[in-house]
């Protein structure tokens, strides 16, 4: 469960967020939709506690991101926009490193890693060094790394960028699986089709503000269009308020 209330953030001369509010419920997939530079990544970074908000607050499973940041990070699985691996480590070692930093003991580390390698069909790829990975392989290992502690809440920042069709399918299946198991999934994208194909709820943001949010049907009726694509373009360009 994610609750975001009136987040504001300024970077130097740029006001990135003008007061963002939305909620993302457990057992549902919420899409954060907006053009590049709309404030998606900034919002997600505040939620993953890597940066601090100037005003307002963000709650993950009831914990305040600014105050109980360690508790938030414990219940959160994060796949940031830039999700680099350690090139001299194998995929397995990359995953195990995160498992240890989550405080899992030796046996749990081995079990959880083995489990995710099987679930993501990484196979022998896991024992190659990350240096030579393809985009898809890199994504799988990053995902395994983010999910190693079975998080209740999962945040994915533009996860489908630069992926081929197979990898995107795999990712969608995984996200649906997470929903079935009761997770709260929040993911950002600037591609409408992407969000339409997957999300139960959509939050459209533009210029650091939430323009419209709700289920796809609610968004269609709010924008007065029959087509989500058209709804997004109108909403993101600020032609509705």
């Amino acid at each position: 469960m994610i609750v975001v209330e009136d987040l504001k953030k300024r970077f130097g001369a740029v006001q990135a967020l003008h007061g963002i509010s939305f909620t993302a419920a457990d057992g549902r997939i919420t899409g954060l939709l907006g053009h590049n530079g709309a404030g998606k990544s900034t919002t997600l970074r505040i939620l993953s506690t890597v940066i601090k908000t100037d005003a307002g607050r963000a709650l993950v499973d009831g914990n305040d991101c600014a105050i109980q940041s360690l508790d938030v990070r414990r219940s959160l699985g994060v796949l940031p926009h830039a999700s680099g691996l350690y090139p001299h480590f194998t995929g397995r070692e990359n995953i195990e490193y995160y498992a240890r930093l989550h405080g899992l003991d030796r046996r749990q580390v081995a079990e959880a890693t083995e489990d995710l390698i099987a679930r993501l069909a990484l196979g022998e790829v896991a024992d190659r060094r990350a240096k030579g990975y393809s985009q898809g392989e890199r994504l799988k290992v990053s995902l395994a790394r983010a999910l190693i502690h079975r998080p209740r809440t999962v945040i994915l920042d533009e996860p489908t960028n630069g992926l081929d069709v197979n990898a995107v399918r795999m990712l969608r299946e995984l996200i649906r699986e997470l929903r079935t198991s009761g997770c709260c999934v929040l993911f950002s994208s600037h591609v409408m089709q992407e969000v339409a194909a997957l999300c139960d709820d959509i939050v459209i943001i533009a210029h650091g503000r939430v323009v419209v949010s709700g289920t796809p049907e609610q968004i269609l009726s709010a924008t007065g269009t029959m087509d989500l694509e058209e709804a997004f373009v109108r909403a993101a360009d600020g032609s509705i308020a």
């Binding site: 506690t49 890597v50 414990r74 940031p80 830039a82 680099g84 350690y86 930093l101 989550h102």
Partner: protein, 392 residues
């Protein structure tokens, strides 16, 4: 605590697989520095030995004008070469390097000598040429000695004590110990040790901030339930470990190389047994937190690995500046100087190599000041790691 250990182990293991890291940690310190050191000292000692052992070759113009002088020179091991030059030709020969120096005996020499006057001798030499300086001064000393011998004879003939000519008798008592004379060379050695220590942690310091950010692995790392202090401390510890190993290996390499360098023929000796090596390591390793902290702090400000490398190459020179000044000025240790990190390690290390007694106060001052600065720098590094801007 366990997070610090996890990060430390990961950084040590991962960097062991990075050829670039191993290259900079080992190749400079363990191979390059001792080899450069051995080459320069061996060349220097070879030249010195050659200058002393070789018979002095002295081209003389007008050999027949001074048969006694020539006999004296030959008796003293001089290889007298009869030459035919005019004065200007002789000068040209020396200037062009064809001859190291030339002695001209003018025709008036015998005549003046017999008349009891001062007989002229022209010694043509290029004092700006350091290669020939030793041989030239040997020739001059011999000529002077011959003159003294003649003077003594003349005085004796006149019934005067030769001591009249020596109103003051200057006796030089050289108290330089052989190890003391090698100060410059030993200074070079501590410099190399510092360099290889810093080189050992160079890439790790960059990797912990700029490198991790550039790879995009920093943001997921920061979203783990681990305090940022633990992450940066683990990384600094790994940097420090590489620096320490690099330093120790360099010292061992030096102690091996010194077995083969003919320091004694340079009139030098250096104490470099296992006990001294360990003592020097103990003294110098206190600088590791300063180096690791400083490099991490500077790398935190940079936007890319490349920029970090440029900055760090400059930063690596800062601790070296006091050492260079100390070597040039032949600075002696004092309690106040022990408050300066890098300089204090240099003074203590050279003291150990020279076999000087080491004052406990100096050691305490050096340890306290250096570790304090190291602590402050590491604290600054952890503060920098807490900023939003660390993500770039």
């Amino acid at each position: 605590m366990s997070a610090i250990r996890t990060v430390f182990v990961k950084e040590v293991l991962e960097n062991l697989r990075d050829r670039r890291v191993i290259f900079s940690a080992l190749v400079f310190g363990v191979l390059l520095a001792p080899v450069i050191f051995a080459l320069t000292t061996t060349l220097a000692s070879k030249r010195m030995v050659r200058d002393l052992d070789q018979p002095l070759a002295l081209p003389v113009v007008g050999v027949m004008n001074a048969p006694n002088l020539v006999r004296f020179l030959k008796e003293n091991g001089v290889d007298v070469i009869a030459a035919r030059y005019t004065e200007s030709e002789a000068m040209e020969a020396v200037r062009s390097g064809q001859r190291d120096f030339v002695l001209i005996v003018p025709q008036t020499y015998g005549q003046k000598l017999q008349g009891g006057g001062s007989a002229p001798l022209d010694f043509i030499v290029d004092t700006a040429n350091s290669r020939t300086a030793t041989a030239a001064s040997r020739a001059q000393r011999l000529l002077h000695a011959y003159g003294q011998q003649l003077a003594t004879l003349r005085l004796l003939v006149r019934g005067v004590s030769p001591e009249v000519l020596q109103p003051v008798d200057v006796r030089t008592l050289d108290i330089a110990t052989p190890a003391g004379r090698s100060l410059l060379i030993l200074g070079m050695m501590t410099y190399f040790c510092f360099m290889s220590m810093l080189m050992g942690g160079f890439y790790l310091a960059i990797d912990t901030t700029a490198g991790e950010r550039e790879r995009g692995s920093l943001e997921p790392l920061l979203s783990l339930p681990v305090p940022r202090e633990a992450l940066i401390l683990g990384k600094i510890l790994a940097t420090a470990a590489y620096m320490s190993v690099s330093l120790l290996l360099t010292l061992i390499a030096f102690s091996i190389v010194l077995l083969f360098v003919p320091l004694e023929s340079l009139g030098m000796s250096a104490n470099f047994g296992p006990r001294i090596v360990l003592s020097i390591f103990a003294v110098m390793v206190t600088f590791v937190p300063v180096g690791a902290g400083l490099m991490t702090v500077v790398a935190s400000f940079t936007r890319s690995s490349r920029e970090a490398q440029t900055w760090l190459s400059f930063v690596m020179m800062i601790p070296m500046a006091p050492i260079l000044v100390a070597v040039i000025n032949n600075t002696r240790p004092s309690a106040a100087l022990m408050a300066i990190p890098a300089l204090s390690q240099h003074l203590l290390a050279t003291g150990l190599m020279r076999g000087d007694p080491i004052a406990p106060l100096h050691v305490a001052m050096s340890f306290a000041a250096t570790l304090l600065l190291g602590g402050v720098l590491i604290w600054i590094a952890t503060r920098l790691y807490r900023r939003d801007a660390i993500l770039g």
